[in-house]
Symmetry: C2
Subunit: 350 residues, 2 copies
DNA sequence: GCTAGCACTCCGCGCGTAAGAGTGCTAGAA
DNA sequence: TTCTAGCACTCTTACGCGCGGAGTGCTAGC
């Protein structure tokens, strides 16, 4: 099925492929030779174009929905287009500024900024947008505070380099004084501040608790607070813009629509989708089958990393395979930059 | 259009109306006289039923999609069914227990419990479920803690009777010591604990700040923390189950689907929908036009209150007007009870 | 007041035809 | 060799048509 790989297409044939992809992205209609010669200045006749199209098809870049229809890009057609043929785009200054402004209006809290950015990206991209929280593997512990509520209960707050993270209510089996909490908090802060969160072990905590001659139970409570800080935003995904997909002709099929809505509802799957994009540096584009989603061959995903406090999060746009890759890459990159910037501003106070 | 109001239908006619609504809810097909006599034991012939149907139509309880079709309930047909005709249902003990169990597995945090309950309700109801956070008008202030991070920044945490509420990062224009924060926190806690949050005024705070001879700026910072506690979960709505609507034949129209997906995405509208249900005690059902949603005449909404720490939140199911009202009311009520219970357990530690 | 019968209406479905878009192929021109 | 023009062919889509079925309202009789 697939044409000879390594046989990179060049010149006119490449231009024709690019044009087919471009036109199909714009119109969602299979592209025929006549359309190409009329709308684009190819300098050759429709018959010549037909020959090229036939070759591109045998090489696996294009497919025909049926015998007497125009051509549609295949996964590898899109892939070639994205990797080699399309013109990179950049965001306009105005648009860039608008994004910055909108993010600046949002609250100071990490998750609210992310939510705001997600909505913005969904709106601007006209597709499904989702953003995963910064990966916290590399986050540093900054501050813990045990807050006394009653003689047998309290709240533990853990602040990390990525912002305020976790709060967890707890109960104790016996009376504890507010002073105990204060002393323990101070001791932990003195000892552990700026330690990578993953390096904080039960024994370190136990040592501190023991030195203050406090009950061992507090050890478990503190560890639970660290644990919840470590995992709190893990797998947390904000998403927006699902309704945009209804405009796309490829989703007139209700089964597809159902599949994709379920995927958006299940954060787990969204998270898995970007998981391997995390291993590579810079923007990543996944096309069709590359996403390995059952029943959803005609989706694509654009993913761009952003940074916050040493952690890396992912900002993604999910849409039909027939998406304007150039524009969306520019949009995602620009938004990721703005988001990184905004989060740096917030964290600058630490 | 509307039939004579006050003229309450009784006996056989009422039974026929109930049966039409019941059957239509089950099948989504207009109901004809033949279906009624065959599937339900009415004891009269189809012709007699036709006469009754014609009357029910002139009285406004039923409508005909077209001349030679069966009948479909109108808003007021559904209304009568829900208010007077349908059999109230209750949840099975098993189902009830399963809900409790699932909620117990969730985390201890208010918002995560709510999210869990929302997903559960969406799954069990096969419709869109959404839950608004408890209204915080009546919430009591419990505890504030200003946490020192650096000499010019900190975090303020406010705990209320509804659970840990708000964290807000702040910066100061000049150096502040950790002790200042501790003293101020203690003074505020001593003075204001268990005050309704809305009664806390800037002057109360200013007084406390002044007594400790601290800088006025702290006053604004503290007030901002209170403000954010007051508004943090306001308008916050968790939703789940949008993809369930795709199964309903009334949403094969893509425009409708689009409208409703947008509504689900915009928390604001969802919040408005339940706003007046908040004024009434107990469960509330809104049918079709009563929701006053443009382009969406055939939706209904079941809303049931739940309680947490003196606040009242709303648990809602949104679906096609042709929804199984009895079952969903039972389901929503049962889930609301479980949720109230669960939140009471969590808060019992205060 | 109920029932049986009947003529009527309207929707939905299947079918066949026609139009249109696009192809591949072949023969000839540059 | 490479391109072009022409042509026959294929396949989809849209449209019109007729038919069957479901359900009604009405009327006459029990």
């Amino acid at each position: 099925m697939k044409g000879s790989p390594g046989n990179e297409i060049e010149g006119r044939k490449a231009y024709i492929l690019a044009t087919v992809v471009y036109e199909y992205i714009a119109t969602a209609e299979p592209v025929g030779s006549a359309t190409l010669t009329q709308k684009y200045n190819l300098g050759v006749s429709a018959a010549t174009v037909r020959n090229e199209l036939a070759e591109l098809e045998t090489e696996g870049y294009l497919v025909q929905p049926h015998t007497s229809a125009g051509r549609v890009p295949s996964d590898s057609g899109y892939r070639t287009y994205v990797d080699r043929l399309m013109q990179p785009e950049a965001m306009g200054v105005d648009e860039r500024r608008r994004i910055c402004d909108e993010l600046r209006d949002a609250s100071h809290e990490l998750d609210e900024v992310i939510e705001q950015a997600t909505k913005l990206l969904g709106r601007l991209s006209n597709n499904v947008a989702f953003i995963t929280a910064p990966q916290r593997d590399s986050q540093l512990f900054r501050h813990i505070q045990l807050i006394w509520i009653s003689s047998r209960s309290g709240v533990a707050i853990v602040v990390t380099s990525l912002g305020v993270a976790a709060q967890s209510l707890f109960e104790t089996a016996y009376d504890v004084s507010a002073d105990d909490f204060t002393h323990l908090s101070n001791a932990l802060n003195a000892r552990l501040a700026n330690t990578p969160l993953r390096d904080i072990s039960p024994s370190l905590v136990a040592q501190t608790v023991a030195e203050l001659k406090l009950n061992d139970d507090l050890c478990a409570i503190v560890m639970r607070a660290f644990e919840s800080a470590r995992s709190s935003l893990q797998n947390d995904v904000a998403s927006a813009g699902a309704q945009n997909l209804l405009d796309q002709p490829e989703f007139r099929d209700l089964r597809k629509l159902r599949s994709i809505l379920r995927i958006v509802d299940e954060q787990r799957t969204l998270y898995d989708l970007v998981a391997d994009a995390m291993t590579t540096e810079g923007p990543s584009v996944k096309i069709g089958r590359e996403l390995a989603l059952d029943d959803l061959d005609d989706l694509s995903l654009v993913t761009v990393p952003y940074r916050s406090g040493g952690g890396v999060g992912m900002l993604s746009i999910l849409g039909p395979r027939r998406m304007p890759y150039g524009r969306l890459l520019a949009l995602a990159t620009g938004t990721a930059d703005s988001l990184t910037q905004r989060l740096a501003d917030i964290n600058a106070t630490d």
